[in-house]
Subunit: 140 residues, 2 copies
Amino acid sequence: MRHRIAAASAAAVLSLIGATGIAAAQPAGLYAPSAMVFTVAQGDDDASTVVRASTLSCAPTALGTHPDPGSACAALNSTDGALDRLLASPDPDRACPMHYAPVTVTADGVWKGSRVAWKHTFSNSCVMAATLNGNAVFAF
Amino acid sequence: MRHRIAAASAAAVLSLIGATGIAAAQPAGLYAPSAMVFTVAQGDDDASTVVRASTLSCAPTALGTHPDPGSACAALNSTDGALDRLLASPDPDRACPMHYAPVTVTADGVWKGSRVAWKHTFSNSCVMAATLNGNAVFAF
């Protein structure tokens, strides 16, 4: 099956999909799993409506509905699973109005075999953009 | 860009990927997002080691590292986001030993725009298999 897929002309993309499927089906395989789902919601509580969501798997290859899985996995790797670090380098040159129109972001799943459940509420979307400062994880 | 991708010979698979990326980048678009991450861990608490994980996105198309995204999305759809329903049709013909070697499964993310955070611990892997009874969601 994998041979037939790899023989197709879009071999690179397709064999990544095949390889990830096989790895996910193995019990406790070569790679500690890293699979996450990210959401962006309007509001500040659990009843918030999710407006965007994105999935990401980082081992053995970066893959997901995230528009830039490679950069997102690299950014996650630099947090080492402590997602508060995404908040640590805000854009110092950006000013935001201080009105309250909260945006809540979440990251759930597993990072290198350990569960992750992270949530942060920004007071508005400008504060979110300035705080995350171009980080790839929530750039979807 | 999409035209060039669609012109490649594996047009079906590639255009699915393209379409999902574009939809995820839109704010509050045509589709309420459905994006989940599933894990299977040995143990019964949050410190359990995750042995397998899988991502799944269901709108606009079924996609993810899950080995059978189409069936998994159909199975989720039949629960309508109430994942306890996955436990409702155990295999009546299967007997399991009652030793305690717990397996915990989780489902986190968003289903049709609403957050989902679900966890269930089975007393052992036989009980898990008999209870889920071939359901596609955790068949990875």
